[in-house]
Amino acid sequence: MYQYDQYDQAMVDARVAEFRDQVNRRLAGEMTEDQFKPLRLKNGLYLQLHAYMLRVAIPYGTLNSAQMRMLGDIADKYDRGYGHFTTRQNIQYNWIKLEDAGDILADLASVEMHAIQTSGNCIRNTTADQFAGAAADELEDPRPYAELLRQWSTFHPEFDYLPRKFKVAIIGSDTDRAAMKLHDIGIQIVKNAAGEIGCRFYVGGGMGRTPMIAPVIGDFVPPLQMISYLEACLRVYNRYGRRDNKYKARIKILVHEIGADEYRRQVEEEFAHILTLGLEPPPAELERIKGYFADPGFETGLSGDIDRSDPDFALWLDQNVHAHKQPGYAIVTISLKPTGGIPGDASADQIRLMADLAKAHSFDELRVTHAQNIVLPHVKKADLYALWQKLDAAGLASANLDLISDIIACPGLDYCSLANARSIPVAQKISERFADLGRQRELGELKLKISGCINACGHHHAGHIGILGVDRKGVENYQLLLGGSEGADTSLGTITGPGFNEDGIVDAVEKATDVYLAQRTDGERFLDTYRRIGMAPFKEAIYG
């Protein structure tokens, strides 16, 4: 894992001092809320429905056990004993006091963490494949590139007041586990015919009220020109992205309106100019960063055998454990989606337990997934049973990864001041309706995603089944979408028809799954069946 040197540390320390000063000026009445708001947002401090909310950055979703432990301690010390892991691989605290914000940032800085640019119209925290450095199918570890990107984007002076927020995701496998094409910029590390590594830039994707899948803008950018290319992409956006309407201000609208070819032409022109300026860190810097992401000391010659005699353990093994590139090791995903639970929430004790387990079983490393789960990336197969027992005792062994109860849900109207409807109660009711794990496994891979408003933080456009909460004359109403996906086969869901109340939407989901079970052919997932038979049979079952 990356470790700060004195420069990195100096930057976060300076940020703590700056923000303390800004908070003090606000509390002293030297700044109005209008002036303070964008400054606190650049440190992830929102004013939400009930209180201030602090979003802490977890760069590319990677953290060590000391950092995870600190997240648990902050939940106890400054919040109400829990945190919420988000679809952007970050963590949010819901009950923060403004007067504590400086101290929290100082605590975070003590473990090389921060809340820099976790909100605001700037380059947000970069996300990445949660299996980076561990996946059996990986071409190149994206984390060194993500760290290079983190440093470049941190306090970038030109791009702090963009037309709108800007999200980047980076992956290094063919399998897209990071919804890469639904970001402002998605970077996929690829290999060309000559066997060289390069960055493929997808620009102009996003969800929100106008969902779009990003087109390829830069097919093959040499890794040592990645920063210059980013600089070019952002400059064109900063200059020409729309600022007259915040709902049309994301880069996806610019790329859509002028067309991918014209955007590409402008980027290429800017890129040619920027390459003359020497803005790119030298090759030695990428190598230095790569050094931190070298494989941990994997043991060799380990047995790959696992004792599956405990049936509950075997279920978890089949559902939540993935192949590792190193023989004798596995990737474990800890589901934060217990039946009836709040997707992505973890108590301070659970957070600290996961930190301890990472230290004992995963070379001190954890990941946060965009599906709001936690990954222990490097677990010895021989340790899996003992690990599972500890997770089970803490309520963290739900064997439901990628099943219908592994729901992504935004905080919704229970917490969020932008929401139109509650998301969490719907997620809870669906997970209770499908509580039987045998039934869930019969349904197979089924990604269900719920947003409480059109901003789509719950990725409803990209759910095999998506749910969008709306406000209908002051009453919560839920629309159903089918056919979305966020993987390599990214697609956007289609609304089935009129919306439902809270119980009605749960029934509608069940009817959709019944259609799938009746119509599927061998090996088809829900999504495959939908794509084959189309919307009509589902509509008929739901509204007929």
Binding site: L47, L49, H50, N94, D414, Q428
Partner: protein, 98 residues
């Protein structure tokens, strides 16, 4: 009637205008009249409240009821964590927001 709500600048707590100050309990809220802007401007300027705004509400047998679900949830707390709400002992408290 119009009642005023916002958050305490320092603590972030949801608060309601009582006519003399701010309370965490919606039942303490009073009718702010037809021109609440002056009160809000004064209280914001005095650093006592942030993000303040006026909403429609009515008085029912149970007390002050904001017209919109959003403010009812603000008044209660998260319906999915009633233990953290203002009515932690009432398992049916969530029904009030609907």
């Amino acid at each position: 009637m119009k009642v005023l709500t916002g958050n305490d600048l320092k603590t972030g707590d949801v608060i309601w205008w009582t006519g003399e100050g701010w309370s965490r309990h919606v039942n303490d809220a009073v009718d702010a009249g037809e021109h609440p802007e002056a009160i809000l401007a004064r209280e914001e300027a005095a650093q006592r409240v942030v993000g303040s705004y006026a909403i429609d509400a009515s008085v029912t047998g149970e007390g002050v009821r904001p017209a919109h679900i959003k403010e009812r949830i603000r008044a209660l707390g998260p319906t999915v964590r009633l233990d953290l709400s203002l009515k932690p002992a009432d398992p049916a408290a969530g029904n009030w927001v609907i």
